[in-house]
């Protein structure tokens, strides 16, 4: 029983990381249908931002807090630049977008290697975030890592902020308008180009934020993005493209599945089982957990 509860906790903490890395994609992939393989490198950019900031801001806690908005801007700017240079030419060619952005990701990785060196770099976490809280005491205590708690809080805050932005602000309405009917939005006087770029800025910026958070739990190096990008895409696909709600639920479900299966089998088997389960799930619901029922014709 404790094991199940404990693994559920672990699953939630895995899910929090998944949610955070997938959140930016829910905008760029989910809303705009752009398969951006360089998204992982935007996460990397966020992580390196933290590293650079720590060189000038020595207090680990402060530098982490400062890094959040700065990484958002840095990764967001990279994203907007990518959108302007390449992606806007490719909106109707999704697989080409995938391949082109894969080329971009190769170049960004090499750039990181040349600028920061090939080995991973180190950031310091505030001591507070390297501990854990005890949820249930006793011989086999149930604990929750503070770093994961921080990531969970951050992820939830980002989800709330994103959904409020999409729902309440004029920008959000414009984004949704463009997503639902590009042509109509255009004739209604919305500059779809600007909306696209802004949406891409926000989505990529969220990747940067995820990068800051990842410095607490994982490595910071040139290839850190490639390891997580497919997981992030899977979360979106299973959740249903364009559905924030689905993204949130699926991130936690996959996290818990992974952690429970991992406990009873091995990491590899758990990963394979999760992937197979995803493939099977998509047979059952080819459009993901939540779908926008549309009447797209031909």
């Amino acid at each position: 029983m404790t094991v199940i509860l404990g693994q559920t906790f672990t699953g939630v903490s895995i899910g929090a990381v998944l949610l955070l890395i997938a959140l930016g994609l829910s905008l760029t992939f989910g809303q705009m249908n752009v398969i951006n393989m360089a998204h992982g490198e935007f996460i990397m950019a966020g992580a390196y931002t933290t590293y650079v900031l720590q060189k000038s801001v020595s207090d680990a806690g402060l530098s982490l807090l400062v890094a959040l908005p700065v990484a958002f801007l840095v990764a967001g700017a990279l994203g907007a630049l990518l959108e302007w240079l390449l992606i806007r030419r490719l909106y109707l060619r999704p697989l080409d977008t995938l391949l082109v952005t894969w080329g971009v990701s190769l170049m960004l990785q090499q750039l990181a290697r040349d600028v920061f060196g090939a080995p991973n770099v180190q950031t310091r976490a505030p001591e507070l975030l390297t501990g854990h809280i005890t949820v249930v005491g006793g011989a086999d205590p149930l604990t929750f890592a503070n770093s994961r708690l921080f990531i969970l809080t951050l992820a939830v805050a980002a989800v709330v902020a994103l959904s409020l932005t999409l729902r309440l602000t004029p920008l959000g309405r414009r984004i949704r308008g463009v997503v639902q009917n590009r042509d109509l939005a255009e004739v209604s006087g919305i500059s779809t180009e600007r909306v696209d770029r802004t949406a891409f800025f926000i989505g990529s910026g969220l990747a940067g934020v995820a990068g800051v958070a990842l410095t607490l739990v994982g490595p910071i190096g040139p290839t850190m993005g490639t390891n997580i990008i497919i997981d992030a895409f899977l979360v979106i696909v299973v959740g249903g493209i364009g559905r924030l709600r689905g993204t949130v639920i699926v991130a936690f479900v996959l996290g818990i599945m992974q952690s429970v299966l991992e406990y009873s089998t091995t990491v590899s088997v758990a990963k394979v089982l999760v992937l197979v389960a995803i493939v099977a799930f998509l047979q059952w619901r080819p459009q993901g957990l939540y779908t926008l029922r549309t009447r797209s014709l031909v």
């Binding site: 308008g177 009917n181 109509l184 209604s188 029922r293 009447r295 014709l297 031909v298």
Partner: protein, 273 residues
């Protein structure tokens, strides 16, 4: 013709996420009829055709020549002799006119025929090319055809497909006057031996060629009969005028409208009626 033949729709109902687009339609179209479906935007005309051809899930009953169609997959319905066209002409743009027609003619081909090249032009395809007047363009990619020619090509594809029920969604939209006349003549010829249902907003066209008319409104059949009967039906006039009032009040076509764009036709239709 026995009473089994023709299209017979009973209690057809289609809804999307709570919005009911077709709300209990009954419809009978006999062989040899040239039936026009009219109605304001959102009346459920296209959805009705979608339901008959299996594109959307529906409840109720749709029988053609005595066979129940609902629940069958799209291609099975197509194989039982039902063909349709779309509001925006959808031909295979990268393929030539000839290839388009050849594909339409070949659903029943066996694997061996499929894996071989086409060495000659099949007889029905050659005839259809003549009928739709595209023999000269047979080698051109369909994407290079003029708009009206594409719509003819679509009709030609239905001809070689040898369907017994044709469902045409705005076949003359965007055509010139002469082209409309030619298309109308063609439909009249076709309907001699088949059942033809046409969704149309062009009231002139309807008056010239319709043998019978059904008016749809808000997912139901509002009125049915000859052109004259329908035009004199006060309910029809009310619906069109009422609809026009809404249309004039503001171009709010942005809503969760299941119908595709096409507001301009509706506007002109109002003046026609």
């Amino acid at each position: 013709m026995t009473e089994l033949s023709g299209l017979r729709v009973r209690g057809l109902r289609v809804s999307f996420d709570g919005f009911t687009a077709v709300d209990g339609v009954d419809l009978d179209v006999r062989p040899g009829d040239l039936r026009f479906l009219i109605g304001p935007n959102g009346a459920g005309k296209t959805t009705l055709v979608d339901a008959v051809t299996g594109l959307v899930r529906a409840s109720g009953s749709v029988r053609f020549e005595g066979t129940e169609l609902l629940g069958r997959s799209v291609h099975r319905i197509a194989r039982s002799g039902i063909g349709r066209t779309f509001q925006t002409a959808t031909v295979f743009e990268e393929l030539t006119v000839l290839q388009n027609l050849d594909i339409a003619a070949g659903a029943a081909r066996g694997p061996l025929t499929m894996l071989r090249r086409r060495r000659s032009v099949p007889e029905p395809v050659a005839r259809a090319l003549e009928t739709i007047g595209l023999t000269e363009r047979s080698g051109s990619p369909a994407g290079t055809l003029a708009h009206g020619q594409k719509q003819w090509l679509e009709i030609g594809m239905l001809l070689v497909q040898d369907v017994r029920l044709l469902l045409l969604d705005e076949p003359v939209a965007g055509m010139s006057h002469d082209e409309r006349q030619a298309t109308g003549e063609l439909l009249r010829r076709i309907s001699a031996e088949r059942t033809v249902v046409v969704i149309e907003h062009d009231m002139d066209f309807m008056r010239s060629f319709a043998r019978s008319v059904s008016v749809l409104h808000a997912g139901r059949v509002l009125s049915e009969g000859t052109v004259a009967e329908v035009q004199s039906d006060p309910r029809v006039q009310e619906v069109y005028l009422g609809h026009a009032a809404v249309q004039d009040a503001g171009p709010t076509a942005a809503g969760p409208h299941p119908e595709h764009a096409g507001g301009a036709h509706a506007g002109s239709a109002v003046q026609e009626v």
